[in-house]
């Protein structure tokens, strides 16, 4: 029998209580995995979309929200001829409620711009020209809206023909309604306005050069800001708020877990006062008793963490099927996030065990043995 056996026996003596504590801590960790996974997923999903389009730099006016605010389309002309710029594609993007879908990305792109190049037709065709009152749907968007080629889709008060279904090579692209820029400008009343410019740089440019180009663009267009694709979302205030809220909610859930483990370990120490006194009488050092309690609570945290990560993965997969999220983002369930969640759980376990361990170390064996 090893010290590890002694610890596991301490946890298995009250299986129901241990199980309930594991549920408590795992719910907290599941919240961490799900909420942080979703918020990180926002960045990775949009980064994937940018990569799919071949966009290196995004010029935007995002500030406090997740979707960019419109700015004059003339800004595109000011940066198009800068050295290092291989191509630009002004776009107008918005999150809108479309028919039965609560939130959907509507992405209007300059006709003939490189942002149309990544769209592979699954069925139908692309619009014939920028004035045709037609849209193409990403595969997920078509699925969510239950539309096919030949149907119509209503954006604001306009009814537009669905002429094609496309695979854009990224979740965000597939979850979008895509149309020509002038059409959406007209529908939303944003005439001569765009919300972003996707920029392609000359192949082979170093990251440092791209960052320099971003600074140059930002100076040329004071009303907007140029950033490396993907980073633009990560740096936005809106994303930071979402991230902070995710962590805040997760920490609250973790706090409930801490209270649960502390309660369990305190109960355990209280119930085992006599056993701890016997161990002291048998020559166990107080430090060994403290270690035993701390290891028990750390182990609760560890297993709670593993269960929590699994629960979080299940939750995330259920949540991403929800109509409000489907097609908007792919949760980022990286190994790093899972390891971090388990580390948090172990830390929670140890933290929760500190007070019970201290209580156990203060036990007077002679009193406990008298009962």
């Amino acid at each position: 029998m090893t010290f590890f056996d002694v610890i596991t026996r301490g946890l298995t003596r009250r299986p129901v209580r241990t199980g309930l504590t594991l549920v408590g801590i795992s719910v907290g960790i599941a919240a961490v995995v799900a909420l942080i996974g979703l918020s990180k997923g926002l960045v990775t999903s949009w980064s994937a979309a940018m990569k799919s389009r071949g966009t290196d730099i995004v010029v935007h006016n995002m500030r406090g929200s997740l979707t960019p605010k419109p700015f004059p389309a003339s800004a595109g002309d000011r940066i198009a001829h800068l050295p290092g710029v291989a191509g630009t594609c002004p776009i107008l993007v918005d999150l809108m409620s479309i028919e039965n879908a609560e939130m959907m990305i509507v992405s209007a792109r300059e006709w003939g711009g490189f942002c149309w190049d990544n769209l592979k037709l699954v069925s139908g065709r692309l619009p014939n020209n920028q004035t045709e009152r037609a849209v193409v749907l990403g595969t997920t968007a078509a699925d969510v809206l239950k539309k096919k080629v030949g149907d119509t889709v209503q954006i604001e008060t306009e009814e537009l023909a669905v002429v094609g279904v496309i695979d854009g090579g990224a979740l965000v692209e597939n979850g979008s309604i895509i149309l020509s820029l002038p059409l959406l400008q007209q529908i939303t009343g944003n005439l001569d306005k765009i919300s972003a410019i996707d920029v392609r740089v000359t192949p082979g440019m170093s990251e440092a050069d791209i960052r320099r180009l971003c600074s140059e663009m930002s100076q040329l267009i004071p009303e907007a800001r140029a950033e490396i694709a993907g980073e633009h979302l990560e740096h936005s205030q809106g994303y930071r708020v979402i991230n902070a809220m995710s962590w805040g909610t997760s920490l609250l859930a973790v706090l409930v877990g801490i209270l649960g483990v502390t309660n369990t370990m305190l109960m355990s120490v209280f119930e085992r006062r006599q056993e701890i006194a016997i161990l002291l009488a048998l020559g166990w050092k107080r430090w060994r008793i403290v270690r035993m309690i701390l290891f028990e609570s750390a182990m609760l945290g560890f297993f709670g963490g593993i269960i929590g990560v699994l629960l979080g993965i299940v939750c995330v997969h259920v949540m991403k099927m929800a109509p409000a999220i489907r097609g908007l983002l792919e949760p980022d369930l990286s190994v790093e996030l899972m390891l971090r969640a388990i580390a948090i759980a172990i830390f929670v376990g140890v933290l929760s065990g500190l007070y019970p361990a201290w209580r156990s170390s203060r036990l007077t064996p002679s009193h406990a043995l008298r009962g």
Partner: protein, 240 residues
């Protein structure tokens, strides 16, 4: 602390030992003086509340006296740098209520006493097997305490008490919860171990038969020793 008596030649020696509880309202020991030699079998008798268990816990460094001196082989137990090491290496405890850990099997209960010594898990297990065999429980090793009879539990507790080869065994009414026949078996076992291993045995009892097996009796009343001598001179009234 080594196994040899240093200086005084006594295993335990006390002078003016006092123990008070509840800010002096309860006086469990009121100036106890005694000496116990190497290899002695000392029975401590007396009515409930006379201070027997308090005295035994002082000998095992489970509690500290309020006043007086108490030494083990010439070294003060009040100044022990590491009481846990003292209990692990020098002392074995046997309790009336057995005090086995309910979630561990018999063989694990014996092993758990050996965690204080630097031994491998395999060596601990082998030693526990050997000790349970010595107390006649080789067929009950993997049983949990709840599945053992009172006598078997006490034999496991005795095996546990000698797991680290202590030079002293402190037994607090080891036969108190047993029927007379089982009590006899347990007492014989303690006596045999005491003789064969030359251990000092200090045993609390209310049972005259048990007390008369000892080489010496200390009778306590109201926190004081009122008789110290041959157990044959004890009367039944004196120990109740």
């Amino acid at each position: 602390m080594n196994g040899e008596a240093a200086g005084t030649g006594y295993v335990f020696e006390s002078a003016g030992l006092r123990k008070e509880f509840e800010d002096g309202r309860v006086q469990a020991l009121r100036g106890v003086d005694f000496r116990i030699c190497e290899g002695e079998f000392v029975a401590i008798v007396g009515p409930s509340g006379s201070g027997k268990t308090t005295l035994l816990q002082m000998l095992g460094a489970l509690d500290r006296p309020s006043a007086g001196t108490l030494s083990y082989r010439g070294e003060s137990l009040l100044d022990l740098a590491d009481p846990a090491a003292y209990r692990a290496q020098e002392i074995g405890f046997v309790f009336q209520a057995f005090h086995l850990l309910p979630t561990f099997t018999a063989v694990e209960n014996v092993q758990i006493a050996m965690f204080g010594l630097k031994q491998s898990a395999t060596a601990r297990k082998a030693r526990a097997f050997e000790l349970l065999k010595a107390v006649g429980l080789e067929h009950r090793m993997d049983h949990f305490p709840a599945k053992l009879s009172g006598g078997e539990r006490q034999r496991v507790a005795i095996a546990r008490s000698i797991a680290n080869s202590p030079s002293v065994v402190l037994a607090d009414e080891p036969t108190g919860n047993l029927d007379s026949e089982t009590a006899r078996t347990v007492l014989d076992l303690l006596n045999t171990l005491h003789r064969e291993r030359n251990m000092t045995l200090v045993l609390i009892t209310h049972d005259m038969t048990v007390a008369r097996c000892a080489s010496r009796a200390l009778q306590m009343k109201d926190g004081q020793i009122i008789f110290d001598g041959d157990p044959v001179n004890l009367s039944t009234e004196q120990i109740r």
